[in-house]
Symmetry: C2
Amino acid sequence: MAQINPSYKKLAAGYLFPEIARRTREFQAANPAADILRLGIGDTTEPLTPAVVAGLRAAVERQGGLEGYSGYGDSEGIPELREAIAREYQKRGTAVTASDIFVSDGAKPDSANIQSIFHAGSIVAVQDPAYPVYVDSNVIAGRTGEASGGCYNGLVYMPCTEKNGFFPALPDRKVDLIYICSPNNPTGAAATHPQLKHFVEYAISQRAIILFDSAYAIFIRDQSLPHSIYEVEGAEQCAIEISSFSKSAGFTGVRLGWTVVPDAVVAEETAPGEIKGLWTRRQNTFFNGASNIAQAGGVAALTDTGQAEMAGRVDFYMGNARIIRDGLDQIGVTAFGGDNAPYVWMRTPPGIDSWAFFDKLLSECHVVGTPGVGFGPRGEGYFRLSAFGHRENVEQAAERITSRLVL
Amino acid sequence: MAQINPSYKKLAAGYLFPEIARRTREFQAANPAADILRLGIGDTTEPLTPAVVAGLRAAVERQGGLEGYSGYGDSEGIPELREAIAREYQKRGTAVTASDIFVSDGAKPDSANIQSIFHAGSIVAVQDPAYPVYVDSNVIAGRTGEASGGCYNGLVYMPCTEKNGFFPALPDRKVDLIYICSPNNPTGAAATHPQLKHFVEYAISQRAIILFDSAYAIFIRDQSLPHSIYEVEGAEQCAIEISSFSKSAGFTGVRLGWTVVPDAVVAEETAPGEIKGLWTRRQNTFFNGASNIAQAGGVAALTDTGQAEMAGRVDFYMGNARIIRDGLDQIGVTAFGGDNAPYVWMRTPPGIDSWAFFDKLLSECHVVGTPGVGFGPRGEGYFRLSAFGHRENVEQAAERITSRLVL
């Protein structure tokens, strides 16, 4: 008699984004004339850039010809793309090489799957608030107990608060796997070199592994801040980095990302190269490579022209972030982020919790955002506004917030 | 201290295809003049068809424009593609609907991941020989003991032999999950309606789940044979079907497949719809949808023109299979398959095992194939030849086999 994986039942029933969609749908049904503006999900809105379109187009034509057609590729990705990604790391002074790069169909699958190469009994630490996939993938893998009070038993939460500038202190007990996202989703906080160094030293001393999500690195404006954890000495011994073309090149739908696993990363009783070998084996068994067309798009995005165009898109979205921050400043709302990340993290008004503010913003301004508590218990009392949107929509949303929100 | 998932160490060290690549490389190095022909990996060689290229091209142009750009899609796939796939099932008289279809980046990832929604203690049955991913994914998930004599302890092997026409008898003990691939890789055998009915009735009576891989269904020439397990009454209560655009549309590199999870599929103590809900949740957490460009290619492949072109490709590869079978017949080698599947499964000469025959074929004919034992212990004494290849290469390989192989 087949039985299901019982860990699925531990997952909080109302997943964040479906619940947002449900409330929005209900509001729209009750208010059919309302022109709802969406700053909820961090989804790109601007078209692929000309260099990327040219790269994709050429790949399609190649696949339609006898000479250019290619079947299965290496699950690790095409060499040209792995080399182009490694070059970006090298430009920032790191020793990452093409053989460390594992191309994938996005940072989300890699963030969710990376735990599977580690022991089922691993103790896991996450930032609170954090991108929900780190938590959910470990719940499903059976590394937690039941949830109570918004926290899963057995999971170690590292509070990210106004007081610590939204970068956590070291875990308060022994842990094996540590998820860090910088620039952070949802708080928009970008870690400094000393902050990351503190964690790298801790991880090496404890032989813990840092799973570092740098999907938003391209949005960093302050060039003194690290874009990759490998800019920190020793990180190659203890950190795996996951990143993405989703937000930089607008590939949320095209699907392309990568994971960096240096030879030097080691766990308990593993030799150098062994963790990398495990990830290779995992990908060879469970994955068959990212789409060859998407990979050609990635190569195009990393050419000089492609990068200049990506920088333009990043500037555009960061311009949106500025408009949102300015709007909030104007009405005296305390807000964070939006400087080095495409998310603005605002404090909800006194006495109004995250979900109540969601409803308030929707009914008063017809604007959708994301309740902070959806990212973890320390997100309560905060609210995330995404800078992804067409300019006129973001301007209009900011205008509505400043003129209609009752504070 | 981070520790690795110890199940990885149970995997047989020399994975089949890397070992083939290694021996081929060594032979080429020692014989630089040898023009090696590859009938090893089942990898498509003919270009994408015009309708598919047009569909992909249009998708690329759409993504480059403000109007047509789309970001994140549903992880289940775009509605147009889910509907087009469901229509193919309906044409064969099944009740599969679009809401049962989960579009993915290929049958391999789905075949490997599907086990994760079931209990870690599930007893798993596989055909022997079988596509290695079913076994390896369950080894990694910890559902087996160590390997001995080519078999993993705790795994139930269902022998597929000449005597049973390469379709197995029911498992010899109680099992929870049953993998069946038809038409089969590597044997090329396609299951009949009564054969599948026997398993469906067994699964319903035991409340076991059949994981049915139909990636090669389009190659079935005998139209009395089922293309989908849902052509068998009751299968919707006990079967999940996995399939692919890889071999039909030549998408081995483009990456596109799907899984069918009907509402009626139930396990122990689950309500109708619950297993489907689990797979939905799994995909929403670990996956972010197949590439929107690849999906547009899938829609194009399923138009009338696209299907006519796919049928042409299938005929072409099946013509290759005929050439290989005829060549083997000519020299008196006993062979199977190649009628309803793009694989020919030949008996190795007396006293020559699978790997010895690999070396013999390579050195005498400069042809690469796949040792049957790589698919399981009952594959010993057999050898797989793939019908994927350019016509002139397949003709030349058959010519070399008939004229040079020393029997």
